[in-house]
Symmetry: C2
Subunit: 248 residues, 2 copies
DNA sequence: CGGGGGGTTGATCTCCTTCAATCAACGTGG
DNA sequence: CCACGTTGATTGAAGGAGATCAACCCCCCG
């Protein structure tokens, strides 16, 4: 629960790594200045809970760096991840007072926060923000619906392959390291988190990853470092049509 | 495939049954007039496909009456419903050329359609529309995420109970017929459609409905007419915390 | 009368869960 | 430096929830 007092991550929006992808992506310089005045950065350690489901939302904001998860939990403890928050993703829902999900940092995390009320006021005045938020929300809705197919209809093996290909795709779009068709990345999630994402048990996750390794679909170094020798193959295993985007 | 030529459902927006809930909910009268100029009604019969996944989207629009489903299908035929479209729900995604899902009418259906380009132009000019669409999209995202928990973590029995309570709740909010705590409604879906919604087989759906009936959680008249003697009980069976809204 | 769509029920199979043991990596304090 | 506990992961054995395959019913309609 270390509350580092030296968490001043002060920087100007112009230098911000997520400047062109976050809610502020379409803002003009004057709009950015207004955002600048109500923003503040906040750091979380891996494992820390950012927001508790049901709690009053003090702020909304963007993930600047690190990874967080959005999860829902039943009274008996069953949990389902309903979103994976990567840099530039938005946290919080304008127009709602209380959080609907737990937000947990899975790695060290930096958030760019806006106090809720000022942000909502600003949003109502600047269509660029509202427009970008609509765009992002529609993307998230698509992602959620794709995930519904994974959860409802895919086998354990297909689920794992689906998760791996999503992570691989994301990493490829960031590092554009698809040289030689070889994709390499680190799993940002524990086996348990993957299980919560996929609606499986962690044992099944472990078994299926081992199976994919034995079958040569992926290579593993250590527990987390993955190499995909043939992306087409992985997509087949995921039950997706090959081709599947890559350039989105 | 009957293409009824007498499908003129002409009416003014003022009389529209979904006037206060659809994308146009927040429009002023002058904005409504503009929408009026680009709108047209279209009818579909039960079973007809409204939009094919992958096809060019000619229009976006609202469900006026009837029920439609949003489904995704894998090459081998497995299908997952990713959305249930009720009156006032919006179909189509501004800013995207091709449909991502199949839209199928499960009952006779009336849609209020807008040609895509004019609608997008109008949306960019009138923040009321964009704002309402954001609101609706956020609601859909919440619904999708709640469904992810159902798909990923609930048992077959809980899944059925969840679906029934959602339908019951919706019907209650429409007909406010919660007199005596007795809820009565008709299932708008076949067993197969329910299975596609819940990530189950239709046999399992049938068995679990029978089981809930034997256990007195619901009463059935015919195959579709359902009575819920005790909503609390149904919510327990769904694995939801009791209370659960009812007044949203 | 035949036929087809929607639904129920039964028997069997299988994939995933559950329970459990084991392991490797890591940090911590004696 | 090593015993110890912890956390994340792998693997095995057994059991069960739901899928699969199949028969049959009901009802409407041509």
């Amino acid at each position: 629960m270390l509350n580092d007092p030296s968490l001043s991550v002060t920087q100007t929006c112009g230098d911000c790594p997520i400047r062109h992808r976050a809610v502020c992506a379409r803002c003009e310089t004057d709009e950015l200045e207004q955002l600048d005045q109500i923003k503040y950065y906040r750091k979380y350690e891996a494992g820390q809970t950012v927001v508790w489901s049901g709690d009053r939302m003090e702020f909304v904001g963007s993930v600047v760096s690190g990874i967080a998860t959005l999860t829902q939990t039943m009274e008996d403890g069953r949990t389902q991840m309903v979103g994976l928050l990567l840099p530039s993703d938005f946290v919080g829902r304008p127009g709602r007072g209380n959080a609907a999900y737990d937000v947990v940092a899975t790695t060290d995390l930096v958030m760019c926060c806006f106090r809720k009320q000022p942000f909502e006021d600003l949003m109502n005045k600047t269509p660029h923000i509202a427009h970008r938020l609509l765009e992002m929300t529609l993307d998230e809705l698509d992602a959620a619906r794709e995930w519904m197919l994974v959860l409802g209809r895919k086998t354990a093996r297909e689920k794992i392959a689906s998760l791996l290909s999503i992570i691989a795709r994301r990493d490829a779009s960031l590092h554009l390291r698809s040289a030689e068709g070889q994709l390499v990345f680190d799993l940002p999630l524990t086996r348990e988190a993957m299980a919560d994402y996929l609606g499986l048990t962690l044992e099944t996750v472990s078994r299926q990853i081992s199976a994919l390794r034995k079958d040569g679909v992926i290579h593993l170094e250590g527990k987390r470092h993955v190499t995909v020798p043939d992306m087409e193959r992985l997509l087949e295993e995921a039950g997706d049509d090959a081709d599947g985007g890559m350039l989105a």
